[in-house]
Symmetry: C4
């Protein structure tokens, strides 16, 4: 399939609640960047995390193989530094091939699950 | 009415919960691609589903008649293969005429309903 | 202020739940098209509603005055025909001046409120 | 990093519930404009708030420093005038450098939290 998407994406919202009502991984509070690489070349993606009151941290590097999707939990990012909980942040994704990025939060601070999602901002 | 939309769309998020708190079809956990074909020619849409760890599966074929909307539940896709539950996926839609695609999940794993929605990513 | 936005918008998702857990207007299940007319000329907006299995219905006509926002509930549309509840639909907005359209659902079928929102699809 | 984004953004939806089930700032009902300034120059942002039945109010001025994100709660805007609760509104953001704006509401009128989010409308 022809590649679809853009190479630079931004998610201005970011916030990982430290609290969850569940220990099941599926229902733990998390923020996710769903990345689709529909094309035939692996995507090497560099992520930078921005904060309100300190310099950005990065690069975080992930590879999304050709014809695969990666639902990347910000909770799981460790290198060069874990993302602090309960902290406002934002993110930029820079890929060497066209990808699509969609942002989702599952929030289970309360005992019911709440969801939000949006296609991220794209350019180039 | 003049057609509105684009011919290629992508939804990077996809996840059908296997659990639901209800048996009513309206409240069973589901993911939907709402497709609008506002124009005067039928839209022949080819859908490909992408996964984290296996080759994409498709084509799934749907027709959206002229001047109609189809709210397609991924839960209902059967041919060539049902979409597995509790599995990260993503999707690309390729149409022969301009359409609009909006992505929605209704999640009733817990006993309250949670919703999310976003206009999908479009190009061409 | 200079106008901002586009003249044609589409919302592929549409569904007004017939059930609500509350009688307070703010918490009755509803779908809204939030329309912003930031410019200095009134916006005359023509809305067409699309269905799965019947011809589109319209025109519904609304005016959004210069420098005003209108949060239009689909529940309130009456002329030429009320929108049926529990029915899949979609909508196209055509304006004579640039506007911005954002789609929101508040769903209170269950006793907790669930929300979703997305910037609609724009062109022209 | 190269700047990413646009200079003019609009959020057609706006509504701050007056009620909350919690007093914890994180869970008080709020609407947020998440602003990312990924570039190397401070962003001077002018915000105008639009209403259904009165003239727009502004300018509200905020600065987002270079390489920072600001998750701006509409609840906190005070000058030239606080945003009334339980009132339909909309907003336009005009920046002197490229930024990205994402809109989020956390709604805790009921005792569970509900979330919605969307990338705002961008141009220029």
């Amino acid at each position: 399939m022809d590649a679809i998407g853009r190479k630079r994406w931004a998610i201005a919202e970011g916030y990982i609640p430290s609290q969850s009502s569940f220990s099941d991984r599926a229902l733990v509070s998390h923020e996710t960047a769903c990345i689709l690489n529909a094309g035939d070349r692996d995507a090497h993606v560099v992520i930078t995390i921005f904060y309100a009151d300190r310099e950005p941290i990065g690069p975080y590097r992930v590879t999304v193989s050709a014809r695969r999707t990666l639902h990347l939990r910000f909770n799981d990012l460790e290198d060069p530094h874990p993302i602090p909980r309960d902290t406002d942040c934002a993110s930029v994704f820079e890929s060497d091939v066209a990808i699509v990025v969609q942002h989702t939060r599952l929030d289970s601070r309360r005992c019911e699950v709440s969801l939000m999602s949006t296609t991220a901002y794209a350019e180039a």
